[in-house]
């Protein structure tokens, strides 16, 4: 029985309390077998959490205590209650865990600070070498017409001189930071439309970079794979370009979604290219080629997973699997409730299969891992208390605009290739980056998106960013996003600890697997 004498005094002492009212930012959840946990967004830690811990924390934070909480405090063994209070106090004092001040004033970005901030932290130059494509995929944000507010095909392509000036401009910007960090490397990503339609420019840029700054760039290309001709592959191979080929699954799946302008499926032609690459350049195929896939409610994810599991095929291992974009689109209007139910059943079964294999230590295929285990791996990698976040954008997954620079054929610079293009952050034909604009965009994001995030218990897990919050003429999180994100985070946390509970060495396996995931996520920025 606990009594006042052996219970440490609450930390926050009533009137005159130097601590402002704090807002609790934790998620309580239970694993599959019913064990209870607490995720703390201040530290990013996950703690075993029972009734006594909950009641003690509430008392420390001077939250209301229910009858059940009082009972938990009253019936606990006194040594345990004292130890629990002491532990929670240590977390509060040393780590400021569990709660934070609501609505703190966020650092206000000024244009003059942006220049060094952006160039010191930027990681990638994306060259949109063409705004044309030789396919007409049904879900394309760009060409399908299903996405509002998004840039579309223009027919424009970059000229070699333009591309080289973009690289020179980038090198000038990062120059002093490369001197500061001799091991620094940057992504150099060729994007489109279909970038291989402009192989001449790709080749020109690769040769220029190799001659000027050998080894400084990791070249990366996202392609639909139709133009992986022997000549083009030779260029890519010579410069060790990492290539992500979009493949949505076996022929019927792929051809349902990825069709050309004549609505003919593209699978056969791409596969023929991949078979040839694997035969002629097996090392390059293995080391530098991966697949990117998307799925929609009609995708048979189990069949696709088996397809990627086939070790004999020439389809590169899966590196990313995403659902068809659901923001600002009418794409999903075509599906019936039964389609969603079917997908949900399929995903559920695949997750069960994944858990079974992971726990048994059996092999898990790349597609299955990326589809169902990616959220768990990201939880394993989640940021912790001392991982630096910009004081301007302390919440959500948003990065400072300018850390990636996507240059389009007209010389405009966007913060990444996914944004809709209506709010460029610079213009290479007119002075480069516009730091005023970058500062203004951050302020707008702070005002429109981050306004309530200080109260949110999952800011370290939230994937919100500019592109995910675009609305006509600005940013705003889609309605219901935050509640859904918190629910989703709770489920993912439960899956994660359930896996850790049932497989003591899962932690170690995750460590080795996620190294890859982290690298590829960075390389292909998916």
């Amino acid at each position: 029985m606990s009594d006042g004498s052996d219970t440490p005094a609450p930390l926050f002492e009533g009137p005159g309390d130097p601590h402002p009212a704090l807002h609790r930012v934790t998620v309580q959840f239970a694993s599959n077998c019913g064990n209870e946990y607490l995720y703390d967004d201040v530290t990013g830690a996950i703690l075993p959490w029972g009734a006594l811990e909950e009641a003690t924390l509430r008392r420390e934070l001077r939250d209301s205590l229910s009858e059940a909480h009082r009972r938990a405090l009253g019936t606990a063994d006194s040594a345990e209650a004292t130890a629990c209070a002491a532990q929670i106090q240590r977390w509060l004092v040393h780590l400021h865990a569990f709660a934070r001040p609501p609505h703190p004033a966020l650092a206000t970005p000024a244009a003059c600070e942006m220049r060094s901030l952006v160039w010191a932290n930027c990681s990638e130059l994306v060259l949109i070498v063409t705004e044309n494509c030789n396919l007409s995929c049904r879900y394309c944000t760009y060409a399908s017409g299903s996405y509002y507010y998004h840039r579309g095909p223009t027919g424009r392509s970059m000229r070699p001189s333009q591309a080289v000036s973009a690289v020179e401009w980038f090198l000038e910007g990062v120059g002093q930071h490369v001197a500061r960090n001799p091991r620094k490397r940057y992504g150099l990503s060729f994007y489109g439309g279909e970038p291989l339609l402009n192989i001449a420019v790709i080749k020109h840029v690769l040769e220029f970079a190799e001659a000027q700054v050998p080894g400084l760039f990791f070249p990366v290309l996202n392609t639909n794979g139709l133009l992986l001709t022997p000549e083009n592959v030779e260029v890519l191979r010579e410069h060790r370009v990492h290539v992500a080929v979009s493949i949505d699954g076996p022929q019927p799946e792929h051809d349902r979604l990825r069709v050309d302008h004549g609505l003919t499926g593209s699978y056969g032609r791409i596969e023929a290219n991949l078979i040839r690459i694997k035969r002629e350049h097996p090392n390059y195929w293995r080391e530098c080629l991966v697949s990117l896939s998307v799925y929609d409610p009609l995708s048979d994810v189990a069949a696709i997973s088996r397809f990627f599991d086939d070790g004999a095929s020439a389809i590169p291992r899966s590196a990313f699997v995403n659902a068809v974009g659901s923001h600002n689109t009418n794409y999903y209007g075509r599906f019936q409730p039964k389609d969603y139910e079917l997908l949900s059943r399929r995903l559920h079964a695949l997750k069960a299969e994944y858990m079974r294999r992971e726990i048994a230590g059996d092999r898990v295929g790349s597609y299955m891992r990326n589809l169902v285990a990616a959220p768990m791996m990201l939880l394993f990698l989640r940021s912790r208390i001392h991982d630096a976040k910009s004081p301007f954008l302390p919440y959500t997954g948003c990065c400072i605009p300018g850390l990636r620079m996507a240059v389009s054929p007209d010389g405009l610079v966007n913060m990444c290739e996914r944004v809709n293009g209506t709010y460029p952050i610079g213009d290479l034909t007119n002075g480069g980056l516009n730091y005023e604009v970058i500062a203004r965009l951050i302020r707008e994001y702070q005002r429109e998106v981050l306004c309530n995030c200080s109260l949110c218990p999952i800011t370290r897990l939230c994937g919100m960013c500019f592109s995910a919050s675009e609305v006509c003429g600005g940013v705003k999180p889609p309605s219901g996003y935050c509640a859904g994100a918190v629910r989703e985070a709770g489920k993912n946390l439960a899956d994660y600890v359930s896996l850790m509970e049932s497989s003591p060495d899962a932690q170690e396996r995750f460590r080795s697997q996620t190294a890859n995931v982290a690298t590829e996520r960075w390389l292909f920025q998916s």
């Binding site: 830690a45 075993p48 345990e80 500061r180 001392h386 509970e501």
Partner: protein, 450 residues
């Protein structure tokens, strides 16, 4: 059924030399005997309690741990996610933030005007804290490699963020023109402090004082040892020591900053307490003692810096510091040495080559992982320390660790733990500030004598 688990903020560390439990937030360390460690390891990993857990003594002991705030009882299978300061995967290096370079040593010459018996370092000689000395790495003097134009080289050092450049030799004062050129180039960077590690001879006192005119310069004088113990030490005319004394007297009088390193060679080892008092009285400075010792064939061997044979331990500052120490080497982190031939080393005391400055391009030498591997070489770099649970609180000169791990005579003098002291049985061998406890199923909790 409820099971005992250590709290997330507790870190269990064990090797063949012993076991310890770290309370990261409470800033306490508990040395564990094997049986106790096995019990706790079992609690950490096993799904179900082993038989011995059911024994009353084990339950009593776990009750003590609960009271100490080190663990608690949880439902079966509970996963305890350990507290971390950062994401468990370091971003792959070239993507992460720049390494924080802080200090560069530049050995500009192997020439010297003295013939100290211990220099250059011969194989089998232990040189502790060589980074503070002018002792040469061995071999004969090589003509200095051209590192290009000094101002260009200084620009590269400054661009890396280096805050302190330590110019050393041999005797760098013998490369006077070059030294002047380097100091002139360094003066363009007001935030860069320059130290000159030298015997303080070969140039007049006035000339050496003149070096301070470049601003941000400090002369670090290496005394070759006190060979005679007298109540009143009187430097003899004509001896090197007299010249060094005159320089230091002049610097003291002029109110200029300087430091003193005393080489503790086999001849001078007995004089260290005397030297400490004498130097403090005369120049108001606490000297650094850098030992350079030939290990005896047989007979006892004692290191001056381990007087009393105790191993000093240091508490971490905060959570971040604790995790940093798990992964980084305090004395090397942020530094490197460029040797006379342009080769790059973690420090002047370590021979391993981590790169080479070619054509004056320092960036080229730093563009591989070898140097950073040394920075990250926490205690796991040396065989013995890898087996020791005290790594995060024990930091010392890595070159000495490496040497001690290879040679039983040195390890006996250098670290009682390394040479087999039973951590649980004889904790008097550890020097700490009251944060170290003994914890065991049988003995309960005891504070280690501090």
């Amino acid at each position: 059924m409820r099971y005992f688990r250590l709290n997330p903020e507790c870190h269990l560390s064990a090797g063949s030399l012993g076991a310890a439990l770290y309370d990261i937030l409470g800033r306490r360390i508990f040395l564990l005997d094997k049986r106790t460690h096995d019990l706790l390891r079992g609690c950490e990993t096993a799904g179900a309690p082993a038989d011995h857990l059911q024994r009353p003594e084990a339950r009593r002991f776990l009750g003590l741990l609960v009271r100490l705030g080190l663990g608690g009882y949880h439902p079966e299978g509970t996963y305890v996610d350990k507290l971390l300061a950062g994401s468990p995967l370091e971003a792959f290096e070239s993507l992460g933030p720049p390494p924080s370079y802080t200090v560069a040593a530049w050995t500009i010459t192997d020439r010297c005007d003295h013939h100290c018996s211990f220099c250059p370092v011969a194989p089998g000689v232990a040189s502790l804290q060589a980074c503070r000395t002018c002792v040469r790495r061995g071999g004969t003097a090589v003509p200095p490699a051209s590192l290009g134009n000094p101002s260009d080289f200084l620009r590269q050092l400054a661009a890396l963020g280096i805050r302190r450049l330590q110019i050393r030799g041999g005797n760098p004062l013998l490369e006077w023109e070059r030294l002047i050129e380097v100091l002139g180039a360094a003066a363009a960077y007001p935030r860069l402090r320059v130290g000159i590690t030298c015997p303080g001879t070969g140039r007049s006192v006035a000339e050496i004082r003149g070096l301070y005119d470049f601003g941000n310069v400090q002369v670090d004088v290496v005394l070759h040892g006190f060979r005679e113990r007298r109540d009143r030490y009187v430097p003899q005319p004509g001896d090197v020591f007299l010249a060094q004394c005159m320089l230091l007297d002049a610097l003291r009088q002029a109110g200029l900053s300087f430091s003193v390193t005393v080489m503790v060679s086999d001849e001078a080892v007995a004089d260290t307490q005397f030297a400490l008092r004498w130097i403090m009285r005369r120049w108001g400075a606490i000297p650094c003692f850098a030992e350079i010792r030939q290990l005896p064939q047989d007979g006892p061997f004692r290191l001056m810096s381990r007087d009393g044979g105790r191993r000093p331990l240091h508490m971490w500052r905060d959570v971040d510091d604790f995790f940093h120490r798990l992964r980084h080497r305090a004395c090397l982190d942020g530094g490197f040495e460029i040797a006379t031939d342009g080769s790059l080393h973690p420090c002047a005391g370590i021979d391993a080559e981590c790169g080479r400055v070619v054509g004056g391009d320092l960036g080229h030498a730093l563009r591989n992982d070898r140097l950073y591997d040394f920075w990250k070489a926490s205690k796991d770099r040396t065989g013995s320390c890898r087996e020791c649970p005290l790594g995060p609180v024990c930091f010392d000169c890595l070159s000495a660790d490496l040497f001690a791990a290879k040679d039983a005579r040195m390890s006996a003098a250098y670290c009682p733990v390394m040479s087999g002291a039973d951590l649980h049985g004889t904790p008097e061998c550890l020097e700490h500030e009251g944060f170290l406890y003994l914890l065991g199923i049988d003995r309960g909790l005891e504070l280690c004598p501090a």
